[in-house]
Amino acid sequence: MNRAWDSDGDPLVALQAGDPALFEAFVAAESATFLGFFRRLGAKPAEAEDLVQEVFLKLFRHAETYTPTGRFPAFAFRIARNAWIDRSRRHAARPRLVRGDGDEDEGSLFDDQPVDGPTPLALAERGEEAGRVRDALQSLSEGQRLVFELGVIQELPYVEIARLLEIPEGTVKSRMFHAVRRLREVLEGDSTEGPELQREG
């Protein structure tokens, strides 16, 4: 996040005090943050926009009962992560493609982009470095992707990532290492294996 919302003021506390200006500033500053968060997790553009709206709506509705117990960005990302989990459950309830070898496709019937990452050919065709990194992210497991997103992009401390994801701090370290190494393998080509879906690391 661009600003330290704890030191500048908690948007939800300000809302409780009847001042919507801070929340509006939060929306203006962090819409792109959450949009990128959901896009990097694998959401399509329109879906990512819906999820961003959902996050801000939930935050707004939480204002009445909100009690600050930690850093506000961590709270906001917890809401975002829950929204993503809900979305994943909805997708899981949809019919799935089953390949001839019996492996289940993680995408729904209507997804045009598989979640388990692009092939090297697809990466080469794309030719955009930024797009390559995001595509490479899709080769990570969801747990690794979340840890990488929160640690590398959102720069949350490990202890908050552990609390947010409800996993031990050691697991955060391990997942982060595997996520970064895997990305290097995919992006720099120093892996003897092709890009494939890794299971929870």
């Binding site: 809302l15 919507p20 929340f23 509006e24 929306v27 203006a28 819409s31 792109a32 943050t33 949009l35 990128g36 896009r39 990097r40 553009p45 990512a48 926009e49 961003v52 709206q53 801000f56 709506l57 707004f60 470095e129 930024a130 797009g131 390559r132 990194v133 995001r134 640690g151 590398v152 992009i153 720069e155 401390p157 490990y158 202890v159 370290k173 391990s174 982060m176 290492f177 970064v180 190494r181 990305l183 290097r184």
Partner: protein
Amino acid sequence: MSTNPDETRRADEELLAWLLDEDTRGRTPRAELEAQGEQVAERLGDWDAFVQRCRVELAEDASADVAQTSGLEERILARTTREDVSWRGDWRLLRGFLGQRLGASVVLRVVAASLLVHIAALPVLAYYTYLAPEPETVIQFDLPVGEAELPFRDAEPEPQPEVDEIELSGLPLDDPAALPKADALYRERLAAGVESQDALSSALLAEALLDATEAGEGDREELAGALERLERAVRGSALTDEAPALRALLASAWLRASAAQALDADEILTASCERWLGQAEALRGARWYAAYLRAASEERAR
């Protein structure tokens, strides 16, 4: 660094933690970490460079996403701090809800489209109904009226058996083979019935004629009444085949009354009587004339 893969991995995890976790970084200065060896410093630099590269490239990617997004911030604010709570807000919420539901259900979209088509077709249907001629039927509302019950009942007259009904009873009409026999029986009964009616009519005529004949000797009013009764008896008679003779006799009664100056005879009636008198031969075969002669004879004898 160790050549043990597990140890190498743990070392890399710690390096990454130092790079990414501010708490870890706060506990160990970079110089202290790099002092562990040249290889550690090199790997730290590698990880650092890679992490920074990912951050930069993903930030550019996020900027491209944001550039493609239009009005996201406004939409969020419109549903949160700037939510319209007036009727326009209600309408917007309703519209949003309908849009959301329609977007989620194909069946609902089909139903909504069908509803719109029906609504659109309604004015057209009404127009053609307006153009069509009105039916001429008139709707009437009648109260159901039950059969009126009279407080008393008229005594119904005894049904008089008609000749044909009497004649048909007992005839073998069901057997086609016996139909000729039934026909003969019917004709026989019919003749008997006619004969009995003839006899009745003859008796009435004879009596009326006798009254008319004898009334002429009394006063004129009695003669006129007798002639009137005679006339009614003639009109009520079914003896059409004997009508000329009957009228002849009636004419003779008129003539006699005229000659006796009991009644002012009409010229036309007189002329008719003269013509009918020429047919007096017909009187001889008539049963009623025989009855008249018999009654007159008995009267004279008395």
